[in-house]
Structure formats: structure tokens, C-alpha cells
Symmetry: C2
Subunit: 98 residues, 2 copies
DNA sequence: GTATCATATGAACACATACTCATATATTCA
DNA sequence: TGAATATATGAGTATGTGTTCATATGATAC
């Protein structure tokens, strides 16, 4: 089965977005780059928790980060993520008014 | 926070596709409706495991099922799922040849 | 009826994961 | 240099999840 790895990569992609906290972080980043403190507030979690989850998103290459003084600015990595979340949102909206 | 439920619904959607086994089941269904036995073979898992995961996909409304004699035929529920998986596949492919 | 096939379900277990708390690292400012 | 701020990280823990195994349900054939 040569596809096994492809399925795993895709599943990993979905897994990155399968947690409400991480999804909120990504959602916040869809409005533009932000620092950890701001992200933690927008997601309603501790800064430590945010840092942990941002690390996960970083390892999965959904976000990138760069230092700006004492702040670390996180940014969405590419448009695929953006579009994926938008599409899921459409689906969720459609489901909700059934 | 009125959006909390929306994020959770979306996260749940992604969670449904975040497991390689479930993703393979959905992938198999993208080629057309199939019975449990066939799905379990295509996904390379036991029929019991397949049944458990199909139940999950059913509860999350990603698939529907109908009886046909002694077989239960599963079908993809809507096009959103189809498009979501296709998009993720594109992303995975693009990532892989970086 | 019973035997058989297809699927579903519950319990149990192993493993993953998301958080908190404490601590470490890195930057800026005095 | 040392204090303060921003972020990262490791350990510990509680909860979630995917599988297997055993058993149950439902349909067909005899």
C-alpha cells in the first residue's frame, strides 16, 4: 500500500484542526499575524497552553513564527489551511440550519 | 462567546477525518457506496473496527447507511466531505514535494 | 424452527493528548 | 550587571480514543 503515507499525512492535517483550541488559534491567525499573548486571549486559554498548541501547529507546518523584539509573531503558513477552514465553516453552517 | 459552538462543530468535523482509518473509509466511499466487509478490506482493518468507525462517521453525519438484504451499504453523506478531503489531498501533495 | 452470514455493540485495555504548574530561556531596559 | 517581560518546555495528570475480543442482533436459507 503506497497510499498509506498519504492518508497519514492528510489525517495529520485534519488532526491539527480537530481541536477547538487549535482551530480558534488558526481562526485568529486568519485575521492576520499575532503574538502569543494576543492569541491566548482570543482563544481564551493560558499562555502556556497557547504556546504548547502553537508548537504543535508549528511542527505540523500550519504556522510559522518570527521574533519581533520580545514578542514572537505567529503567521498562517499557507492558503491551503485558510481555504480548508473556510470550507469546513461552510459545511458547519449548512449542517446547523438543517 | 457565541462562536464557541461553531468552532466545536468545525473541530468535530475535522476530528472525524483526523484518523487514518476513518479517512481511508471515507476515501473508499468517495469511489461509491460500499458494504462493511468491503470497506474493512479496503481500509485494512477488522470488520469490527470498521463497524465502530463507521458508527462514528454516522453519528457525525458524514455517512449514511441503508440495509440491502443482509448487507449494510454505506454512502458519503454530502459533497462537502468530498471537497474537504480533495482539498486536504492537494495540500498534502504540495507539502510532500517541497 | 436452526444454522449461517453480515453487522453492531459493550467492555477492557493501551495509547495519545490537552491541560496545569513549575521552571527555563531570551530579550529589553535600567 | 540585574529586574521585568514574553515565550518555551518538561513533568505530571486527567481525559479521550482506537483497537480487540466476546457477544448480540438481524436477515437469509434450509
Amino acid at each position: 500500500m503506497e497510499n498509506q503515507k498519504a492518508w497519514e499525512a492528510m489525517a495529520q492535517m485534519f488532526a491539527a484542526l480537530s481541536d477547538p483550541t487549535r482551530l480558534k488559534l488558526v481562526g485568529a491567525l486568519m485575521d492576520g499575524p499575532k503574538c502569543v499573548h494576543e492569541l491566548s486571549e482570543l482563544a481564551g486559554i493560558s499562555e502556556s497552553a497557547a504556546s504548547h498548541q502553537l508548537r504543535t501547529l508549528r511542527l505540523l507546518r500550519l504556522v510559522t513564527h518570527q521574533r519581533q523584539g520580545q514578542h514572537i509573531i505567529y503567521t498562517l503558513n499557507d492558503d491551503h489551511v485558510y481555504r480548508l477552514v473556510e470550507q469546513a465553516r461552510d459545511h458547519a453552517l449548512e449542517e446547523s440550519h438543517e
